[in-house]
């Protein structure tokens, strides 16, 4: 098992508390309709976790790549925006 948290721990973030910039539009679509649940393995920061069939999103470690929005192409169930200016990931090296 790779500990993704250990990787993300090296990064600098300014989290916009209480204002997640990405949202699952309809959680029922994830549980009932989505075959692939691709967000749960393709997100490079493992922000989407699977509990049973339900998908939970926690954006704190988000790298703002855009993968989850594009990979959810069949259901377009990801409401995706950049964080407010100055918030989110702060790459030191990039």
């Amino acid at each position: 098992m790779i500990n993704i948290q250990e990787k993300l721990f090296q990064n600098r973030y300014r989290v916009d508390d209480g204002r997640p910039h990405i949202r699952i539009r309809n959680p029922e679509i994830c549980t009932e309709d989505c075959q692939s649940q691709a967000c749960t393995y393709a997100c490079p920061a493992a922000c989407y976790t699977l509990e049973g069939k339900a998908v939970t999103l926690t954006t704190d470690g988000c790298l703002e790549c855009g993968t989850c929005r594009i990979i959810c192409s069949e259901h377009q169930n990801v409401d995706w925006a950049y964080p407010r200016g100055g918030h989110g990931i702060l790459f030191k090296f990039g």
Binding site: I2, I4, K7, L8, Q10, N11, R14, S36, A38, Y41, A42, P44, A45, A46, L63, E64, C65, G66, T67, R69, I70, I71, S73, W80, A81, Y82, P83, R84, G85, G86, G88, I89, L90, F91, K92, F93, G94
Partner: protein, 432 residues
């Protein structure tokens, strides 16, 4: 803010900085907006900087830009599970007083470039996300930001907002990226003492080595990996198409871990301290996926326009060049007192077509399709090449004729003679 600008540039990556710098240097009133705390804090690259594109904008950049190493050697490796076959090119000629390629770190590099933009006279505002384009009667007239009273107006808006290109999508200028046309790359940076690094890569001073990698590490997905030397660190990463990640269900960080553990890679990063993990998308649809590049009062440059030559891992230079050409288009119109209408901005596309940007993208226009249709390029061939090398290099009493026969048989068994010829033909067609 009620004042009006000659131009608003959204984004302070290489495309936006090239555009804003060129516009401001010509005396235009420019506003540049960037969502990061400082320019660069949102940006990720390998990163190789190609001197030529920057030199055309800032001729003496070498005296002041934060450069890591100038590249004197390029290696290309094709990996199997526990072996590697490859080629390399190394030359003293790359150590001239004007080296052609450097490794950089995007965060400090973008910050430096942005200081040049400010010094040229542009107003640069960070920590500000543009949320949408303001339109009046089918014309873009400005932008809305996430700041209070954040509407700002200009004669033209240059969209240099990177691969996700949310603003143009929201305005309906183009649709969502196809997962087949975009790669996700993950990378890490590992710090090592400078002498250790120089010893491992057989380099001195600020000489650098870059390694481009294909084969088993991508699990057969369309993608490549890379390892670049910086002054006191190594960046290594791996990227594959989103459509392939969806198929294989391999998490991107799992690929990165396997890459780090590969016997050809592990000794190079041994003992390094990992200080950052990053991820970013790369538009790889090429020429056929390029959207409309201009309209009434707007232009789109760099990754936002999909201007990446994936076959050669070039993006930042296409970004800078498109940013510069877009700016030159606006400067010329401004000088003649002409509006930035769709008709007048057509010059931008025409000038891009004449540059290496579109010529190169056009040359490789069939490549994305060919790679989709021939996944064995990334699975079967790496194995075959490695095994062929193994057979030929193992001295075990078997004569060389028989060894060659074994190798030939292994290729034909895997791909058939027709298949091999077809592959060669398809690759030739896709890259001619």
């Amino acid at each position: 803010m009620t004042e009006k600008f000659d131009a608003i540039v959204v984004g302070a990556g290489p495309a936006g900085n090239a555009a804003a710098y060129t516009l401001a240097s010509a005396g235009l009133k420019v506003l540049q907006l960037e969502r990061g705390e400082t320019p660069g804090t949102k940006n990720v690259q390998g990163a190789i900087l190609y001197s030529d594109a920057l030199e055309r904008i800032i001729p003496d950049f070498r005296n002041e830009a934060p450069l890591e190493r100038h590249i004197i050697e390029q290696r290309m490796w094709v990996l199997d599970d526990d072996s590697a076959i490859g080629t390399s090119y190394r030359s003293e000629a790359f150590s001239s007083d004007r080296p052609n390629r450097y490794t950089i770190l995007r965060a400090p590099f973008d910050r430096w470039f942005s200081e040049k933009v400010r010094a040229a006279g542009a107003l640069v505002i960070c920590e500000t996300t543009v949320t949408e384009l303001l339109q009046e009667g089918g014309r873009v007239v400005g932008v809305r930001t996430d700041r209070e009273e954040g509407d700002i107006y200009a004669d033209v808006v240059i969209l240099a907002d990177g691969v996700n290109s949310l603003l143009a999508r929201k305005a309906g200028f183009h649709g969502e990226l196809d997962p087949r046309n975009v790669a996700l790359a993950v990378k890490e940076i590992h710090f090592l003492p400078e002498e250790t690094l120089q010893g491992r890569f057989n380099i001195k001073g600020s000489e650098g080595v870059v390694i481009e990698i294909a084969g088993a590490v991508t699990h057969g997905m369309v993608g490549t990996a890379f390892l670049y030397t910086n002054r006191e660190s190594i960046t290594l990463g791996i990227g594959c198409l989103l459509s392939d990640f969806k198929k294989t269900r391999v998490p991107p960080y799992a690929l990165l871990e396997e890459l780090k553990q590969h016997p050809a890679i592990a000794p190079l990063i041994e003992g390094g301290e990992m200080k950052e993990y990053a991820a970013h998308l790369i538009p790889e649809g090429g020429y056929k996926a390029i959207p409309k590049l201009y309209g009434e009062g707007w232009m789109i440059v760099g990754d936002s326009a999909g201007l990446v030559n994936a076959a050669h891992r070039e993006g930042s230079n296409l970004a800078m060049t498109s940013g510069r050409i877009a700016a030159e288009t606006v400067i010329a119109l401004h000088g003649k007192g002409l509006p930035c209408s769709q008709e007048n901005l057509a010059v931008y596309r025409a000038a891009l077509d004449e540059s290496f940007v579109m010529k190169d993208l056009k040359k490789y226009r069939e490549l994305p399709e060919v790679l989709h249709g021939n996944p064995h390029f990334f699975s079967v061939y790496p194995k075959l090449f490695n095994r062929a090398a193994h057979t030929m290099l193992t001295v075990d009493g078997e004569d060389k004729h028989s060894k060659e026969k074994t190798v030939r048989r292994s290729f034909v068994e895997q791909r058939s003679l027709l298949g091999l010829m077809g592959d060669a033909y398809r690759m030739w067609r896709a890259t001619r």
